[in-house]
Symmetry: C2
Subunit: 555 residues, 2 copies
């Protein structure tokens, strides 16, 4: 039996386990296990954007996913596993006790959402994020948001923990420290859960917790106490050092060896966020912009540290030494809404179907709803670029990059009585492509050149119509990763490096990478049309920004 590695990819709804041949990267087996309590809608309140996940969900789904993958794999596969790596969503932190146990695993907190993981998309900490932003700009010391794009988000570590500590006295009293989802699982599997020593992920710390080497680690005690005296003393229970995922967090314990059916003593890599391991799975190299294209996008670029030394890329979502590939500067940007824009339009058009469902045609309504985006894509693909004169702005969920501003909103111009649904859909797709182009232009204008574009994620794999427009608008060739599970493959690569099977990530990528499909070539005629429409997109965006600024001043 050949050597293999196990990659575990914790998404929003489920965990995927894949076992990969550690010599050539071929898939041996995989299995997806949903989070049981999450699936029932427990501990969440969409009305207030409260989204919490129970640590037991992560543990039970882990066992199910690994068991499922091993069951699907050839006999003897279990014995071949040489290393494990884990990626998760983030920032998804949890309050832990002195031993590093998430509070919800303790009897007295088992049903308390504040004692659970605060999922990335939980927006309960909007006020706390505002306070962090105001303080960072006004307190007179260093602006701790500067390596995170200059704007701290309610989706991130400090905002979330402060919100929970304010809201829940019992959790505050019982919380010795806080741990990210991607840090807790490696700690658990290796038995190294002590919050003072467990190995924290560089990518989580640098992109979401305002950690930076030049700050001496996390924001100073003075800053944190100014933010809220409640935070007094917490910094000392967190961390100063951080690690990249080529390092092992530890080795698999005897107990977890038994529970998973895998050899004890194999290395478990330091964890990281899904998009970042995905970029590695998508074979990111310096100058390759990797776009994770789904409901939103995450756009990642790496560069040698020496090349970017002293360069601060303005208005992206963070730049962190080693956050994507160890030894390289990892830069992250993104669009707050991408596939979500198309889903929004589908929901808009599906509005009358409610009336159909009410009349007893529920199945037909559901079937019709699913048919909308494919039918629109088919029709919209026939419309020549620029024919409709419609220009849309993709900021329906605010703007993440460049220069994050969640107050901005979407717009559409050029509407006529002849504007039909396929024309409007095409304009919305073009708008999301213009948003992609704007991110690439920002990277380049700030001194981070882009040589090629690699796409991964659902839209990249499923929508040739969208992908061709993105290629035309960006006027760049777009390669699409061959693998259907690029993120988990990236985790497997880290597992292989942490296990010592390859000297570094580049070597693991070369050996285990899935390569690319034919991808998309820009059509020169369309690219020329889009060059001119892009100017209109920028003009519309500037107008919307001005009005938004003027309105917020008047308040």
């Amino acid at each position: 039996m050949t050597q293999s590695v196990l990659g575990l990819d914790y998404g929003t709804d489920s965990v995927r386990a894949i076992i990969v041949n550690a010599v050539d990267g071929s898939d041996i087996a995989s299995h997806v296990a949903p989070y049981p309590r999450w699936k029932e809608g427990k501990y969440c309140d969409p009305g207030t954007n409260r989204f919490r996940q129970h640590p037991k969900d992560y543990v039970e789904s882990l066992e199910a996913a690994v068991a499922g993958a091993l069951k699907a794999a050839p006999e003897g596969t279990a014995k071949s596993v040489r290393g494990i790596a884990i990626d998760t969503t983030g920032s998804t932190p949890v309050a832990v006790d002195r031993e590093g146990t998430p509070l919800a695993l303790k009897k007295e907190f088992e049903e308390n959402p504040n004692a659970m993981f605060v999922l990335w998309k939980d927006h309960t900490a909007v006020r706390e994020a505002d306070e962090i932003n105001t303080l960072a700009k006004t307190w007179g010391g260093v602006d701790y948001t500067r390596f995170e794009g200059g704007v701290y988000s309610s989706e991130w570590f400090w905002a979330k923990l402060l919100h929970v500590m304010r809201e829940d006295e019992k959790v505050r009293a019982a919380a010795f420290s806080w741990v990210e989802h991607c840090d807790w699982l490696p700690a658990l599997l290796t038995g190294k859960t002590d919050p003072l020593t467990l190995k924290r992920s560089r990518c989580a710390a640098g992109h979401k917790a305002m950690w930076h080497e030049s700050f001496g680690g996390l924001p100073s005690e003075e800053f944190l106490v100014k933010l809220d005296p409640l935070l007094k003393g917490l910094r000392a229970n967190l961390f100063t050092e951080t690690f990249t995922s080529d390092a092992a967090a530890g080795v698999l314990t005897e107990e977890w060896s038994r529970r998973l059916g895998i050899h004890a003593g194999i290395p478990v890599a330091v964890g990281a966020f899904d998009a970042h391991m995905g970029a590695v799975g998508g074979e990111i190299v310096p100058g390759s912009l990797v776009k994770v294209m789904g409901t939103s996008t995450c756009d990642m670029l790496i560069a040698p540290l020496t090349e970017m030394s002293g360069t601060l890329v303005r208005g992206i979502c963070g730049q962190v030494d080693g956050s994507i590939v160890p030894g390289m500067l990892g830069m992250e940007a993104g669009q707050s809404a991408f596939g979500d824009v198309y889903a929004w339009f589908k929901n808009l058009l599906a509005w009358p179907l409610k009336l159909l469902a009410v009349k007893g045609y529920r199945d037909q309504a559901a079937e019709l709803e699913d048919a909308i985006i494919p039918a629109l894509s088919e029709e919209a693909a026939k419309i020549p670029a620029g024919e409709s004169g419609i220009i849309a702005l993709d900021w329906l969920n605010g703007r993440r990059t460049p220069d994050a501003d969640q107050n901005l909103k979407g717009a559409v111009s050029g509407l006529t009585l002849g504007t039909d649904a396929p024309r409007l859909f095409r304009a919305l797709v073009e708008a999301t492509a213009f948003g992609s182009r704007r991110i690439a232009e920002r990277f380049e204008s700030e001194g981070a050149p882009i040589r090629d574009v690699i796409a991964i994620g659902g839209v990249a794999k499923k929508s040739p119509f969208v992908m061709q427009i993105v290629a035309d608008v960006m006027n760049r060739t777009i390669k699409v990763a061959e693998s259907e599970q690029t993120v988990a493959l990236g985790a497997a690569m880290f597992a292989a490096v942490a296990a010592g099977l390859f000297p570094d990530i580049l070597a693991a990528q070369k050996a285990l990478g899935s390569g690319f499909t034919d991808g998309y070539q820009p059509n020169p005629a369309n690219a020329a049309v889009y060059d001119s429409l892009y100017k209109e997109y920028l003009a519309l965006g500037n107008f919307i920004e001005e009005r938004t600024r003027a309105k917020s001043k008047n308040r």
Copy 2:
């Protein structure tokens, strides 16, 4: 039997005949007769916006409508009719021979669309309208478009006749003169069809044919020949004098007395356009803005000539002495799309229903489509003013008033992933209301004050949701005419004056007017919200205008 009058209202699809008690204005009977050939789609090509109507359609439907009304009326009604007046769509001209017979009534032209009436919404003469506009601004003489808002439209008299004359040599050779629909019917019924002497409508001539007293009538021969040498000599076969509809075009001939079953010798009033007679039916008085609210709007205001002497209201669709009420300055403005904006949104949302129809649920799809606007209105009415933050621009069919510009297009800003169909619908309704407010503001800023607002037309009668928003946005009380057939009632008022039953239109309005329903009062809280949203509407409009201008310069 009391005295009665007959009003004939020729719309786009049918003619309505009403017989009104000439003492108190109560309805005696009415009947609607469709145009038979038009109903079959004959002589039209929607793809090229060619819309023609056969003179036989007008004649046959006239007989059917009058017969239907008399049949529905009490015995003896026919004998009580003391006068007739006719309104029609316009500009809807036709080529006529030396006797004033529309060419399509002659054997050799009976199937030739160019020998038929060119319906108001026929857009085949776009090029000719452009040429007229360019020449009017550059030829060095008087700008003949100045009393028609400064922009000549492809929907109007000269553009249409020039287009037909260029396109059809046979029609050109056979055409002695041209006559508007509203002028031909009174001429026909009174036997006074000689093109040189038949009484031409002041409103048609002044609003659509660049006729003005100060020009000495129609544009000069020099101007017309410069426009196209083909026009040489035509001016002499048209007209210099024009008439208001309180005058009789003549009296009913023996032949038409037999065909209609009404006394010969009763006066038939000079014709006029439907919107203008509608304004009279809606009891327009100086300072009352009458809005005909349907697929588009026509906004009319009258003022004493002395009061407006020397005032040119910039950017409206025309100001003509006596075009609405004899002896008053008649001013016309309008929105190119009003109800059409709602219909557009309905069609957008109905797009997936095509897929349903294809699957065999054709009836359900049709039923659902009809339910969309009522359901949207119900939901949208529950949304507080200003809650959604969405601002829309109503220029989906260009902008008619102020400052006509058909190149302008619609827009929407403030979209978020939470924007649902009712919110977007409400914003579109608000946009059409903002457009109404802008027209009222233009009248006032140009020295034509508005005291109150009177609404007539389909939207005014059918959509309390829309009407309340218009009242809130305009911050004015809106009265709605009680009559369900205000335009035909206006024609009946003119019939009564032409018959000498009343000394003038004001007296006829007082006696025969239907009065008003309770109407709509502005909600002060909403009016304040809309005051601030209106500024955003103007800002969005200015941006769109600037970009449109910049783009057309770059071409």
